[in-house]
């Protein structure tokens, strides 16, 4: 008996989004990072084009974090006080690009000003020549001041800026249009709202092809399976022709994994769980590897060992199922 061909055929591809601009393109980056482009579900390259290789963005803050566990800080040392040096360290660890989180602009944190944030953006752009992601503190009023200043400071560099939400999108859309950046659209683990945010951006004149979706991330043991199913459902809808879900996906893995007590706790606190130097990076690496299979395209990460583990998984994964 003939074995039936059960492979699926997909109508459309996930959009390819380029981040960064070289000198020829009006920026100062050494290269451009391309994400997305998949024409099949992850790990099923026999059904279509596997698309661009998923990438790692090292998480960098504009202020030194005061609550990172020692297992993380020991790899960065003094660089945590200098976003440029921090970004350089991350690239040395193997990251493909930098994600600068403007945590220090939060009114409850250092409440740094828009001008200070813009200066930090320029410093990081100067320190490294990879493309840049710039992420606000998540307080709408503050982001609406800070992010346009950062967009303007990085004009021409084709950064990825975020994030817009259902409630707050107009200002950032306008800033990205004006200064030529890509946009992160954020939704709270809700596929309907993910679509809605994209349609709001589109209605404001933004091209759906310049958007990356942030569907919210959850770590292993803390909602990972829920995130997985949301990402999977979105990807299947995107491949089936839904233009509002045809965007590449960004996952904020490092921040979520290192919130888990299993990753953070010192050896003295949880003697039964194995050494922190192994436990922490494993928690982050496994979270990332899982979301790779759900269709993640950009992974924001923290620990060098987790990045290494993840990149090895990507090597293997990109080969799976190709013919």
């Amino acid at each position: 008996m003939e074995v039936p061909d059960t492979s699926e055929s997909w109508k459309t591809k996930i959009n390819t989004v380029a981040i960064g601009a070289t000198q020829d393109e009006g920026g100062t980056r050494a290269g451009v990072v391309r994400v997305g482009g998949a024409g099949c579900i992850p790990g099923a390259a026999y059904e279509g084009d596997a698309g661009e290789r998923p990438v790692v963005a090292v998480e960098v803050w504009d202020v030194a974090p005061d609550n990172w566990p020692a297992e993380l800080t020991r790899h960065y040392g003094d660089a945590l006080n200098d976003p440029g040096a921090w970004a350089q360290k991350g690239i040395e660890m193997g990251a493909d690009l930098v994600c600068l989180k403007l945590t220090g602009t939060h009114p409850d944190a250092a409440d740094r000003s828009a001008e200070e944030a813009a200066t930090t953006v320029k410093a990081v752009l100067k320190a490294v020549d990879v493309p840049l992601i710039v992420w606000g503190c998540g307080v709408p009023e503050k982001d609406n001041k800070v992010l346009p200043a950062c967009a303007s400071a990085a004009s021409g560099e084709n950064c990825l800026l975020g994030s817009i939400t259902e409630k707050n999108y107009r200002t950032l859309v306008a800033a990205c249009l004006a200064d030529g950046h890509k946009l992160i659209s954020e939704s709270p683990l809700d596929i309907n709202i993910a679509k809605q945010v994209n349609i709001l951006a589109q209605d404001s004149g933004f091209d759906l092809k310049d958007i990356v979706i942030f569907p919210t991330t959850g770590a292993l043991g803390y909602g990972l399976e829920y995130v997985y199913s949301i990402m999977e459902r979105g990807r299947i809808a995107g491949l089936s022709g839904d233009q509002l879900l045809q965007q590449p996906v960004i996952s904020d893995v490092g921040a979520e994994a290192w919130r888990a007590k299993e990753a953070r706790a010192s050896d003295d606190d949880v003697p039964g769980l194995g050494p922190a130097e192994r436990r922490g990076p494993l928690w982050e690496g496994i979270t990332a590897t899982n979301l790779l299979q759900a269709g993640g395209d950009i992974f924001i990460m923290r620990h060098p060992e987790a990045m290494k583990m993840f990149k090895e998984a990507v090597d293997e994964f990109m080969g799976v199922g190709s013919v």
Binding site: I191, N192, K195, G241, Q243
Partner: protein, 267 residues
């Protein structure tokens, strides 16, 4: 939902007048408005408007092509007109239609295959519209096997299970739904299931309500295409909503706008 706009039909007085006076602007306007409202294809039917069916049909086609590249659903019951017109129509074509009679099916499927066209087939034979479910399903099976033998792929085959006005044949709406469900069991991959929707409400009151209610019911039973009036906004809204409820798209607050934009972008 694959929507075939029904408005370019000589049965309507504006189109009849346009054909008689060779007034292209009426046709341009109807073609553009139907496509803008969500029509994927346009039905072209001279109806009783002209004694020169072929000439009038080609005139309509040429006028539409001045403003739209949408697939044209060439609607005539005369084989002589159909076989002569189809090779001359530029762009994508749908042949509308063939009855489920073995010889006629072979003839029409040959025309469709030769010209890379799609074909609408009706579950009607020489005895007319069947009154029961089984006879419709039987004809559906005949259509499917003939298409396979002729090499007409499923995505270019439409099966129209024929709906009669609800005031004339009150049992028919339910029979048609049942027939659609059973025909789906027979084929993989599925051809398109089609209805000439407006017929369900011919000479009835509350036509728009009847049309959109039946459309939603039929979509739940597998209907994926209809010859209908895309200018009836509530009808198109009902189609979008029913398809979303069937899980063919994912809800978002702007789901009506989103689906209309999707159509515009992919056309």
């Amino acid at each position: 939902m694959y929507i075939i706009g029904e408005r370019i039909n000589g049965m309507f007085n504006d189109v009849k007048g346009a054909i008689l006076n060779k007034d292209g602007s009426v046709v341009h306007d109807l073609a553009k408005r139907q496509v803008a409202a969500g029509a994927d294809a346009l039905d072209v039917n001279v109806g009783p408007a002209s004694s020169d069916a072929e000439g009038a049909l080609m005139w309509l086609v040429e006028e539409i092509r001045k403003v739209s590249d949408a697939p044209l659903c060439i609607d005539t019951a005369k084989w002589s007109v159909m076989s002569s017109v189809i090779p001359k129509v530029p762009g994508a074509r749908i042949i509308n239609s063939s009855k489920a009679d073995p010889e006629e099916l072979e003839q029409y499927m040959g025309l469709a295959v030769e010209n890379d066209a799609a074909l609408v087939t009706l579950t009607i034979d020489k005895q007319g519209v069947p009154s029961d479910v089984d006879r419709r399903v039987e004809m559906g099976a005949l259509i499917l096997t003939t298409a396979e033998a002729a090499g007409l792929p499923a995505d270019r085959l439409f099966i129209d299970t024929i709906i009669l006005p609800v005031n004339v044949a009150p049992q028919q709406p339910l029979s048609v739904l049942s027939a659609m469900q059973q025909i789906q069991m027979l084929a993989d991959p599925m051809p398109h299931l089609l209805l000439g929707l407006s017929n369900v409400s011919q000479n009835c009151n509350e036509r728009s309500l009847l049309n959109r209610t039946y459309l939603a019911m039929a979509i739940a039973c597998g209907l994926d295409s209809a010859i209908m009036d895309p200018l009836d906004t509530e009808l198109v809204d009902a189609a979008i909503t029913a398809e979303m409820m069937m899980g063919k798209s994912i809800y978002c607050d702007s789901f009506l706008t989103a689906e209309r934009k999707r159509k515009q972008l992919s056309s």
